[in-house]
Amino acid sequence: MHYDILEKPDFSLVRVRFQAPGEQLLVESAAMVAKHSSVDMKTQMQGGLLGAAKRKLLGGESLFQNTFTASAAGEELWLAPGPEGDVEVVEMDGQTPIFLSSGAFLASAPTVQIDTKWGGAKGFFSGAGLFLLAAQGTGPLFFCAYGGIHAVDVGPAGYICDTSHIVGFTGGLEYQVTKVGGMKSLFFSGEGLVCRFQGQGRLWISTRNPSGLVSFLQPFRTVQSS
């Protein structure tokens, strides 16, 4: 399949052009913008009921995913994520796994296996319900973020980043979650948990933090009347 990411980096929009009938793309629920009517869409629980339930409870992804199948060459499928931000695509080579924050997965070819990696116990993400997904295999993997996606090539010197800004990282990186500064800093600094990466690999950081938007919108929500 052929794909373009338009409107980069502000409101990235993915346009897929299928090259042959039978080509498929697995897409996060509700990410479809448009398609030719002849592209078939099936909703399924990926990996069977147990696999899907595990992913929902642990991975934070919605339970259902859509599989789009082309019926002819030249058909188009347009995708967009919910938040305002960028989309990146990596052609997986079957060797290096990629770990993604839940909520960052947008779409992938069926030849990419997505599994839940239990990173939550270590308090990896300070936000509720955010965990790590592991992607392995070959083919395109599309991921998204609230904000732009900034890639940092991490080397022996390491890198520190705020945990709520982590989009994903490649295998080959070790990570450790810590507080920044001392107790006073934890309360007053405004910085929450940070993650220290070491090793050799690539780290993707989002330039915006969803909890920043959530806090901003909080006063604008209507108050529930009891």
């Binding site: 502000d10 448009a34 259902f64 305002e84």
Partner: protein
Amino acid sequence: MQQLQPMGPGSLPAPPGSGVAHEISHGPSFAMLRVDLAPGQTLVAEAGAMVARSQNVTMAVKLNASPSAGFFATLKALVIAFIRKFIGGETFIVNHFSASAPGRVWLAPSLSGHVAHRRMNGEKLVLSTGAYLAHVGNLDIQMKFGGLSGILAKEGAFWLEVSGVGDLWFTSYGGIEAVDVTSPFMVDNGHIVGYEGNLTMNIRRPGGGMMGLVASGEGLVCEFTGQGRVYLQSRNLGSLVNWLSPLLP
């Protein structure tokens, strides 16, 4: 108390081909429109869109009824406007900006995205109600009801039909992509900015049987058949809300 008046035929029509002096900056993500008004020109703009204006530009609130509307149509428009103000959505109250000497008005929509300019020359363009920003000239803007199926589709309840001669500015949430449609094309409701040409729009389920409707997360979709052009926006308020909701305290 300010009297509300329906938009009368008082605005001067811009001569064909001349266009109104304007500039769209900071596109495509946070586009802002600046209109340079000549004396006697009136800029009509969505309520709440003003960023700045020269001191000498006056602003008056009006109902955006069709210029040919009679008393009952105006009353209906007023009722709709009040209802929508309370239930949310486009109020279709507008501000009229004019000045006796040259003046500038800066406008911006509330969501991130683009502003597009369209010089209308008698053709018809259908816009989603949220997409209207402003116009100068002799444009007829009619609010059309999308029908019962339109109500189910939430965003599809009301559409605007724009025709006439003048300058029109409309907005998108995210960027705007124009897609030329020649074979049946399905678009998620919340991603439509507008469309034109010889297109028929039908509201449908996206496929996948019953499970597809309930589980797929896609709302209802619009299917376009015929020949024409559809304007897509790259973000969708409904998807933003779905993404945000699990993160809310």
